[in-house]
């Protein structure tokens, strides 16, 4: 009896203990390996790589304290490119020194270049050189004769003395598709690996062919050596967002099994050995250590914590001293900037902690990361952290976006609410009605660097919802319909009926290029969708005669457009075979391009509306809103403000029109300032008529048509300025309605239902939608 009682008590105790343990387990956070979650942090030191005259830097390799790289200098007079191999000691502060490594062309009228290089652990340098015919500016056609290039592998010691050279032309010219070497590396036994399109060539320590392995891949992503010295080739995974690795075994001359789960990286395709195991993979947001034995990826560094834009990372190497060497190449639209970032592990207590500002967005955005890095570097007080709801390692499925958005929504109303959110993902009206958005007006009023008046009035107006200035987008584009001014006459806008009537005047002319039933519907509803809803009563009119008329007009077009390669859109426009062009403008140059493409003066109209007013559509970018639950509103505003401040237009690196008036005007000035051709004395050259010879700013091509873009005229600038003034931004609610219409109209376009039937269904569903949102 006593035994039984004891047993019962023990059972009770065990059960209670189990329950308690499981409850404790509920709140335990998983250790991610992120430097935030541990007691150390990586502290960055930025070492600029400025090599005078260097147009392009290849990969940078660190061996010991030495940094090796190659660069090229292009001579515009001879049209020849010269390559140099240099090294720099990272500790002594001295500048780059040239190494006597050169690939000399062996044939007459041939030039040579360094395609790839790699360095072994003893600092021996392996170079893949290529010889090809010289470019002759006097006779350019002759430069493109079909002559096979000569490929050779060279080995140099660390001082640049050549050890051997091996001609591998036969190997690389066997298959035209596999003649270009993407990646090159050398293993611990001195064996050289070259990867091309889908082949891997393995050479022995003397540069002779050991084997050629076919990966059966469509495209080799990269190649790398892990901590254990095993060499892997990577390929884009077909079934998830990442890459698959396959081991190259030169002893068996075969490929190993596929290892899945490796994140995709932003790097140039060269993987280097991990810190503890596997390989390092530089993602857009983080640096991962991928364990090749277990197939698991561990997050090592969050790039933004180290003030690095992950999109710019070219390669990462782990030094034997525990430091990480990150090579960064940043292109600002004009030139490349190179930087080496040395990440050193330090105890968290040694680092001054900054206040964190969290920006919530779905996935890593190039512009946002750049802005965050710029702000973080400049601020001693705040550190911007980007919280992405779709990680760059997440597999994209049909529901990925929806699931991420649901999680984001849940965070907005919980204690996890980010300080700043990407407003382009949400319906601003909805968030404002929930009190989720902080009004930026008081912050803007207090700001000493920007004011409300600095921005385009209509941008501020359409970004203001119920008196709440939700965000200030940094750039916009505009969309409209272009036609010949002579045909469009004095019309400033058009109603749906006027648009239909206009097109019916030209029955033999195609209305738009590639116009389909669906695209026409999109054009009609872009602006007039709200006209079919009476928001004062909440009554929809999608079963009205007017809407049915729109559907019937759209139904005149093709269901699908068959692309014809022989057709040229510019030619058809010029020959009057196409009446209008539905297009978006991202810069002055696009407006100029269309002005040149049309054979006469152009006119940009808005999309058809019920009252014939407006219709020019503006799309905003970089719209970030401060949440009313932001923990640190001052810091959040400081970041938002930093995105709105550009000292000069040269810093502008966005594909769109600036929303700041001064920047926009500067853009017009830049666009309308001619660039001239100068002679050897620095004087502007004159043509036969004595006019200054203007240099084209750029060239734009469309199908087989090409045009040089010169300085914009005042009329062109005024026209674009007027369009930007007239434009309006559409809200997310319209998108919801449009989705219902687009889905239900399909059976009519397919010929399965009548226009009245689908209009009735649209009315039924749209009415619910509108009622819910009233």
């Amino acid at each position: 009896m006593k035994k039984s009682k004891l047993f019962t008590k023990m059972m009770h105790a065990c059960l209670i203990l189990t329950m308690l343990i499981s409850m404790v387990g509920c709140g335990k956070s998983e250790e991610t390996g992120n430097n935030n979650a541990t007691d150390y942090v990586y502290v960055p030191t930025f070492v600029p790589i400025d090599i005078e005259g260097a147009d392009w830097l290849n990969d940078v390799i660190i061996v010991g304290d030495e940094l090796y790289t190659t660069y090229s200098v292009f001579d515009e007079t001879t049209y020849q490119s010269e390559q140099k191999f240099v090294k720099k000691n990272l500790t002594d502060g001295n500048d780059f020194t040239d190494l006597p490594i050169q690939v000399v062309a062996t044939k007459e009228n041939y030039q040579s270049s360094i395609n790839s290089f790699c360095i072994d652990e003893n600092a021996n340098i392996y170079v893949l050189g290529c010889e090809y015919p010289k470019y002759d500016p006097e006779n350019p056609e002759a430069s493109y004769v079909d002559v096979a290039p000569v490929y050779a592998v060279y080995k140099f010691d660390k001082e640049g003395n050549q050890i051997f050279t091996s001609d591998i032309s036969v190997l690389l010219t066997k298959d035209e598709m596999n003649s270009y070497v993407q990646n090159m590396l050398v293993d611990k036994n001195g064996r050289i690996y070259l990867s091309s399109n889908n082949l891997v060539f393995v050479l022995d320590e003397n540069g002779n062919e050991l084997c050629t392995l076919d990966t059966q891949a469509e495209w080799i992503r990269g190649m790398g050596m892990d901590k254990d010295g095993k060499v892997y080739v990577s390929m884009y995974a077909m079934d998830y967002n990442g890459t698959d690795l396959v081991e190259i075994n030169p002893d068996t001359k075969a490929l190993g099994n596929k290892i899945s789960g490796c994140p995709d990286g932003s790097s140039n395709g060269n993987y280097n050995a991990g810190i503890e195991s596997g390989i390092l993979v530089a993602g857009n947001e983080c640096l991962y250590e991928f364990n090749t034995a277990t197939g698991e990826a561990k997050e090592i560094v969050d790039w933004l914590n180290c003030n690095i834009n992950g999109n710019y990372v070219q390669s990462v190497r782990a030094g034997s001293d525990g430091k990480l060497y990150v090579f960064i190449s940043e292109y600002n639209g004009d030139e490349n900037h190179y930087e080496m970032v040395i990440l050193e592990k330090k105890s968290s207590s040694e680092v001054v902690e900054k206040e964190e500002i969290v920006v919530g967005t779905l996935y890593s955005d190039y512009n946002l990361q750049s802005a965050a890095v710029k702000f973080n570097k400049a601020s001693d007080k705040y550190q911007v952290k980007v919280k992405t709801y779709i990680s760059d390692t997440v597999e994209w499925t049909e529901t990925t976006y929806d699931d991420a958005l649901k999680l984001f929504n849940a965070d907005l109303t919980s204690s996890n609410c980010p300080d700043i959110i990407d407003l382009s993902l949400f319906n601003a009206d909805n968030l404002v009605s929930k009190g989720l958005i902080e009004d930026l007006t008081p912050y803007l009023d207090k700001s000493s660097v920007v004011s409300k008046e600095d921005f385009l009035d209509n941008v501020i107006a359409t970004s203001t919802v119920d008196g709440v200035l939700t965000s200030i987008p940094t750039y916009i584009n505009l969309q409209g319909i272009i036609g010949r001014a002579s045909q469009l006459g004095d019309m400033e806008g058009w109603t749906i009926d006027e648009f239909i009537a206009f097109t019916e005047q030209y029955p033999e002319t195609r209305v738009f290029n590639y116009a389909t039933k669906a695209s026409m519907l999109s054009i009609f509803l872009n602006y007039s969708i709200r006209d079919f809803v009476d928001y004062s009563t909440g009554k929809c009119n999608f079963d009205s005669e007017q809407f049915i008329k729109v559907l019937e007009f759209c139904n005149r077009f093709d269901l699908e457009y068959e692309y014809n390669e022989s057709e040229s859109f510019p030619n058809m426009i010029r020959e009057g075979q196409i009446l209008l062009a539905d297009t978006g403008f991202y810069s002055m140059q696009e407006y100029q391009m269309y002005s040149l493409m049309f054979p006469e003066e152009i006119k940009v109209m808005g999309y058809p509306t019920t009252d014939g007013e407006g219709g020019i559509k503006l799309s905003s970018y970089n719209s970030y809103a401060m949440t009313s639950k932001a923990q640190n509103k001052e810091g959040a505003w400081a970041f938002l403000e930093s995105m709105l401040v550009y000292e000069k237009y040269d810093e502008w690196n966005h594909n769109g029109f600036p929303t700041r008036k001064d920047m926009l005007e500067e853009m017009f000035v830049v666009a309308s300032t001619p660039e001239y051709i100068y002679d050897e004395n620095g004087e502007i050259m004159l043509d036969e008529q004595g006019n200054k010879m203007e240099n084209p700013k750029t060239s734009w091509g469309y199908d087989n048509w090409q045009a040089d873009i010169y300085a914009a005229t005042k009329e062109q600038c005024d026209a674009v300025r007027a369009l930007l003034d007239k434009g309006e931004m559409t809200s997310m609610m319209d998108q919801g309605l449009y989705a219902i219409i687009a889905e239900d109209v399909e059976p009519y376009f397919q010929g399965a239902k009548s226009a009245a039937e689908v209009a009735n269904i649209i009315q039924s569903r749209a009415q619910i939608y509108v009622d819910e949102n009233m």
Binding site: L431, S628, E757, S764, R765, I768, E772
Partner: protein, 356 residues
């Protein structure tokens, strides 16, 4: 006169109520249990006296005597410990969230949290989408629930009788329970799509195509889908309840020359009353859950006749309209409480002479 009494395990005094099967006024008699024959739980025995059948109802009269022994105290403590996780679970996952819902329903939004008292309820009650959702859900429940109860009862009775292929029929009606919702929806899409099998049959017989899912007919499709999905489960419950009706009562009824209809309405229905209540409540709950199938068939904005309350809630949740959602949820729960309360009253009325 033979008296069969439920065995009194704890030696409590019992009140014995004799009820004439044909509705005569019951009489009371006090007795201490003696005989061993009894039915498990609160089921009744019956007595036969002078050719008249009686039902005997037992009720505990006195309060259960507390035995304040150490053993009982320990038992209570340990039972409390065992109950605690469930209690905490209910508190954490049901009671507290419901409190939060009540709170959200009286504030303007979850962020500024200004108290607005009944404004959200007024707004929701005046909202066109909510009214349509209420109307559709009510119409669906009024049609589908009685059909589900009656048809499943009929099926149970048919399968109780001696017909060939009984087990095959049972399996056939139970099979929808084993099929995942996504597959069911796929089957329904194949059948009721505009270019689906049903329309092909209609065309073959000279009819015209019907847009089953985007017209007034969509309601019919959803009712059929609901019945197809739920009949099997309800049928099993009824079959179990039918099997538990004491055979001797049915035999007595037969001896008393009761017709099958009289047996059905005066005996079986009364014995089935608690099961009918249970099946009705379950069907009612399931009728609210038909949203899942509708959503998969027609997404979040269906044709207006099949726009249900849960569509409204789902869409308002997606729009972060938590205050609207909370108000609607409270109104819905109040309606459910009233409906279930009425059902209990009905069951008590019809099943008052049968302890369930």
């Amino acid at each position: 006169m033979q008296i069969y009494v439920k065995q009194n395990e704890q030696a409590c005094l019992q009140k014995i109520v004799y009820i004439n099967l044909y509705g005569e006024k019951p009489f009371l008699r006090k007795s201490k249990a003696a005989k061993q024959r009894f039915c498990e739980g609160a089921l009744n025995s019956y007595v036969i006296s002078k050719g008249v059948s009686y039902l005997m109802k037992t009720k505990t009269l006195g309060k259960e005597r507390r035995i304040k022994s150490k053993r009982m105290k320990r038992a209570k403590r340990s039972s409390g410990l065992f109950l605690a996780p469930s209690f905490l679970g209910v508190l954490l996952f049901f009671v507290l969230p419901f409190m939060v819902v009540i709170y959200y329903s009286v504030v303007d939004n979850p962020i500024s949290q200004n108290f607005v008292f009944l404004d959200n309820f007024k707004y929701v009650l005046g909202n066109g989408a909510f009214k349509r959702a209420i109307s559709n859900t009510f119409r669906f429940s009024v049609i589908a629930v009685p059909l589900a109860v009656v048809l499943s009862l009929l099926l149970a009775i048919v399968l109780e009788s001696k017909i060939p292929f009984k087990s095959q029929f049972r399996t056939f009606f139970l099979s929808p329970m084993m099929v995942p919702v996504a597959s069911i929806v796929l089957i329904w899409q194949v059948l009721f799509h505009y270019n689906g099998a049903v329309n092909d049959v209609l065309l073959a017989f000279g009819g015209t195509r019907i847009d089953w899912l985007k017209s007034e007919y969509s309601h019919v499709v959803i009712v059929i889908l609901f019945l197809w999905k739920n009949l099997g489960y309800n049928m099993i419950l009824f079959m179990a309840a039918l099997a538990s009706i004491p055979k001797d009562i049915l035999e007595v009824a037969k001896l008393e020359s009761a017709t099958p209809l009289q047996t059905f309405f005066y005996i079986k229905i009364r014995y089935l009353s608690s099961t009918i209540l249970f099946v009705t409540i379950m069907s009612l709950i399931n009728s609210f859950k038909v949203f899942r199938e509708i959503y998969l068939l027609t997404t979040d904005y269906p044709y207006d006749t099949i726009y249900m309350l849960q569509h409204f809630m789902n869409n308002t949740f997606k729009n972060l309209d938590y205050q609207k959602l909370s108000s609607a949820a409270i109104l819905m729960s109040l309606a459910m409480v009233v409906i279930i309360g009425v059902l209990f009253l009905v069951e008590n009325y019809f099943g008052r002479d049968v302890e369930g």
